[in-house]
């Protein structure tokens, strides 16, 4: 037998090269995350205790901040508004998720799709729509009964719209985990429906509820778009950072507010981290999926509720679209496309939409390659054991940093004249990189889940066959994980064309992005063009999602032969 083949020992030296390559790439990945996530954060910490000349001043800025009543009030405002958003969104999304998973109502797929639509819109868009509905000249102003929508009510409504799909996805996942056997056991014991709900359903999705609440709270407290548009004189932390830095160039106070903003996020991150670990532990048990049985009254009620929620969501989005298509609310309701012409061609912000598409493309490309390769190196290779937990933590930590804080760190770090990477400042590259880092965690978790589903021994088998790891990566890992890779790319594209908070500090006139343009146009009173641009962003996202769905379907069909 061995006469046919050359002696295997000859392949030995190449192996060491492959091993070195793994280490080099892993260090590179760690270096990238350290440079673009840790370093900017560290700079914020440093700036918070320095004066403008770089001298250490201790906690003077913190003291000044809390001594200014207007600023200190923002802390309280941010907290109670975010709590209110959480208190409304989580129960609302829970009932919706419950209807989708536990009832036999019709049109589940459509309702679910509609409920996820807010994910595709920039966070400013609902705020613009709510102003049109309930603002000074709003169509339904009387509903508010004299209460102004500008301020806390508008912020809360907008954030509920923005957060709803995030909470919904988590709660659907949690409710879908139900163990049918528990319900059968309860039925056998003659348990009443309400008791089953409180003794089985609620405990089984407890972690999902906590996770949804932390995600919603973090989103609401760190979002900048909606309060900027609809907040009026109601100050919140996120807008304070912006005002201090862009309005007054007061970087030190900006850093202090940024750190304050970081606190709830990090706490929420800690809670979520603990909860997620428990969640995966309960996932591994073998359970029988719960299959709902038709109950006409209950199903009808659920359908009614979901239809109402969807109508509200569509009403918000619809108002934005409507605003973009009429001349001027409420004076001239004639149909026009002039806002689109202004937003895309004629206006000062004409490049914004194309810039956003370009930036989305770059982010999707760079982000997907970097996220997937780093996740692969982390999960499937050996060596550098000490670096790995640190890298994993960094990958998860990006979620805990609000975009606004990350962006603030970027200007402080990369705009520093002594930084050799200063050339990145004001380029498209820094926008793409910051977005990649800001949305790192979600892509990372998708990649890790896909990679964990693969047999751990592929790499060992290749090594025993003297095939270097990168060949197996290319021939096996990538093709098998392609659906997950496409999903990461889609996610990156969609979030990056509507992101505002992270890039608002980083754009230059020639790299202005859609969300920033919407904010600026809205501020200048050009509500029509702002709504038009927002609508275009939603359309672009829908387009990408359709392309993604089609590509995935084709891919699955093509690989039908081997996907069992």
């Amino acid at each position: 037998m061995s006469a046919v083949l050359p002696a295997p020992a000859a392949a030995a030296p190449r192996v060491h090269v492959a091993d070195l390559l793994v280490r080099a790439l892993l260090i590179l990945g760690g270096f990238g995350l350290a440079l673009f996530l840790l370093a900017p954060m560290a700079v914020i910490f440093i700036r918070a205790v320095q004066d403008n000349n770089g001298n250490y001043v201790g906690f003077v800025h913190f003291a000044n901040y809390f001594a200014t009543p207007a600023l200190a009030r923002s802390v309280w405002n941010s907290l109670w508004v975010s709590l209110a958003v959480t208190a409304i969104t989580v129960p609302a999304a829970f009932v919706f998720a419950y209807a989708l998973t536990r009832s036999c109502m019709p049109f589940k797929g459509t309702l679910r799709l509609i409920a996820l639509i807010p994910l595709l819109a920039p966070s400013l868009l609902p705020a613009i729509a709510f102003i049109q509905w309930f603002g000074n000249q709003g169509a339904l102003k009387w509903v508010m009964g004299g209460v102004s929508v500008y301020g806390a009510p508008g912020i809360i409504m907008s954030e509920v719209f923005n957060c709803f799909p995030h909470a919904l996805m988590i709660l659907i996942a949690a409710l879908a985990l139900a163990d049918g056997r528990l319900y059968e056991a309860a039925d056998a014991l003659g348990t009443r429906r309400l008791r089953k709900f409180f003794t089985i359903t609620v405990p089984s999705c407890k972690y999902g509820l906590i996770s949804a609440a932390t995600v919603v709270f973090t989103y609401a407290i760190s979002d900048f778009g909606a309060p900027k548009v609809i907040g009026g004189n109601f100050n919140v932390l996120a807008v304070d950072v912006f005002k201090q830095v862009i309005g007054q160039f007061n970087f030190s106070i900006g850093a202090v507010v940024g750190l304050l903003l970081l606190v709830p996020s990090v706490v929420a991150f800690g809670i979520d981290w603990v909860v997620r670990r428990r969640l995966t532990a309960s996932l591994t048990t073998r359970s029988v999926p719960f299959v709902p049985r038709p109950r006409p009254l209950f199903d009808g009620l659920m359908l009614g509720y979901c239809a109402l929620v969807c109508a509200l969501l569509l009403g918000v989005l619809g108002m934005a679209v409507y605003t973009s298509l009429i001349n001027l609310w409420p004076y001239n309701l004639g149909f026009t496309l002039k806002h689109y012409r202004y937003a895309l061609i004629a206006g000062d912000y004409a490049p914004a939409f194309w810039n956003s598409l370009k930036m989305g493309g770059w982010t999707a490309l760079i982000g997907t390659v970097f996220v997937f390769c780093t996740a692969y190196l982390l999960e499937k290779t050996r060596g550098l054991g000490a670096l790995r937990p640190a890298l994993r933590l960094l990958a998860l930590l990006s979620m805990a940093v609000p975009g606004l804080v990350l962006g603030l760190g970027y200007i402080m770090f990369f705009n520093h004249p002594a930084n050799p990477l200063n050339f990145l400042y004001q380029t498209m590259a820094i926008l793409a990189i910051s977005t990649v880092v800001h949305y790192y965690t979600s892509g990372h978790l998708t990649a890790v889940t896909a990679l964990k589903a693969l047999d751990d021994e592929y790499e060992s088998v290749s090594a025993s066959l003297k095939v270097p790891f990168y060949k197996t990566f290319w021939r096996v890992t990538v093709p098998v994980c392609l659906p997950a890779i496409l999903e990461i790319a889609r996610y990156y594209f969609v979030v990056s064309i509507s992101t505002l908070s992270c890039v608002v500090f980083l754009y230059a006139p020639h790299t202005i992005l859609a969300a920033v343009a919407i904010m600026n146009m809205d501020e200048a009173g050009d509500v029509g063009p702002a709504a038009a641009l927002g609508t275009l962003v939603v359309l672009a996202s829908v387009g990408v999602c359709l392309v993604y769905a089609l590509a995935t379907r084709l891919l699955i069909a093509k690989s039908q032969a081997w996907r069992a």
Partner: protein, 323 residues
């Protein structure tokens, strides 16, 4: 060679150390006189089959088997011929175009074997290769792997927790416990002369009797005096006597046999070809004793639950360990 032991005893870890997939904290790995302790997996010369097979799902059988060959820049025709040869060897000729998900567990296992053998390694490592299969397929493949291994003539190390598998397939068995080697020997040696209480306990069934040595190969268990051909303990030392249920004499004339025992049959466990009888022997003071009987013996000797029986324990089979 089979590495045998309970789960968590370190047998898979040992295999992975040999493969270079784990790093040993101490000691060296030497293959064919070459110290490979520090080499990465790809620098070592072996083929491996994992418990999960780890076949590449998106590659056809041909691409899977030829995976290690393609990397050596061999001409296409030569790879094709080699793959066909290997598939014939494992008994699956003509399955080149199929994908792993279209094959049964046993077939996947043989493809994994073919892939491991493709590069003609000097050592074949099998990590619980049969444990993912159902019972019948497992017994059938035992013989097939063994004959394939003899045909190819490659040194093979297999990990298993199934003692039957180890005893039936291996030339030499290594019994491991808590990361330590308990005994290395032929299957016969392992079963008949276990080197430690653990080996005696783990491989096959065994009776354990607490006893005290009386010196000269005589032992007292309860009120019973027993003789063993083993005489390693000084008088007065506490001992444990290990005795397999089949090592008893019933149907020969018992006259002059040592170790004669009378007892009542408390319970009979029916096992198919034979039965396991729980004996209650008054002189053993509550220590139970299990004895095998064939179905014929059961009938001929009229063995039922509750019946009395006299038999002898084989002195040459009683293993003695200090306790």
């Amino acid at each position: 060679m089979c590495l045998l032991g309970p789960s968590g005893c370190g047998k898979t870890t040992l295999l992975r150390i040999i493969a270079g997939l784990e790093t040993q904290t101490r000691g060296r790995v030497i293959q064919n006189g070459r110290d490979i302790s520090a080499l990465p997996p790809a620098g070592r010369d072996y083929g491996i089959v994992f418990q999960s097979y780890a076949l590449f799902p998106n590659l056809s059988v041909e691409e899977n088997v030829g995976y290690g060959l393609t990397n050596r820049r061999l001409p296409r025709g030569q790879i094709r011929a080699r793959v066909a040869e290997l598939l014939k060897l494992v008994g699956l000729p003509g399955s080149e175009a199929k994908y792993p998900s279209q094959l049964s567990g046993g077939q996947q296992q043989r493809i994994a074997l073919a892939r491991a053998l493709a590069t003609s390694p000097g050592l074949l490592l099998l990590d619980e290769p049969l444990s993912a299969l159902d019972a019948l397929e497992r017994v059938r493949l035992r013989g097939e792997i063994r004959s394939l291994q003899e045909k190819v003539g490659v040194t093979t190390i297999m990990v298993t927790h199934d003692q039957e598998e180890a005893l039936s397939m291996a030339d030499r068995v290594v019994v491991m416990n808590h990361g330590a080697l308990e005994q290395v020997g032929t299957p016969r040696e392992i079963y008949e002369t276990p080197a430690s209480p653990f080996v005696a306990d783990f491989v096959g069934r065994v009776n354990v009797l607490k006893a005290v040595s009386l010196g000269g190969g005589r032992y007292r268990a309860g009120r019973l005096a027993l003789t063993s051909s083993e005489n390693s303990l000084a008088a007065g030392q506490p001992a444990r006597l290990y005795l397999r249920p089949e090592d008893r004499v019933v149907d020969m004339p018992l006259n002059g046999q040592p170790n004669q025992i009378s007892g009542r049959i408390a319970k009979i466990e029916y096992l198919g070809g034979h039965c396991l009888a729980q004996m209650q022997v008054a002189e053993l003071e509550g220590q139970p004793l299990s004895v095998y009987f064939s179905l014929n013996q059961m009938r001929d000797l009229g063995i039922r639950e509750g019946s009395e029986l006299t038999f002898a324990l084989r002195a040459d089979r009683i293993r003695v360990f200090a306790s």
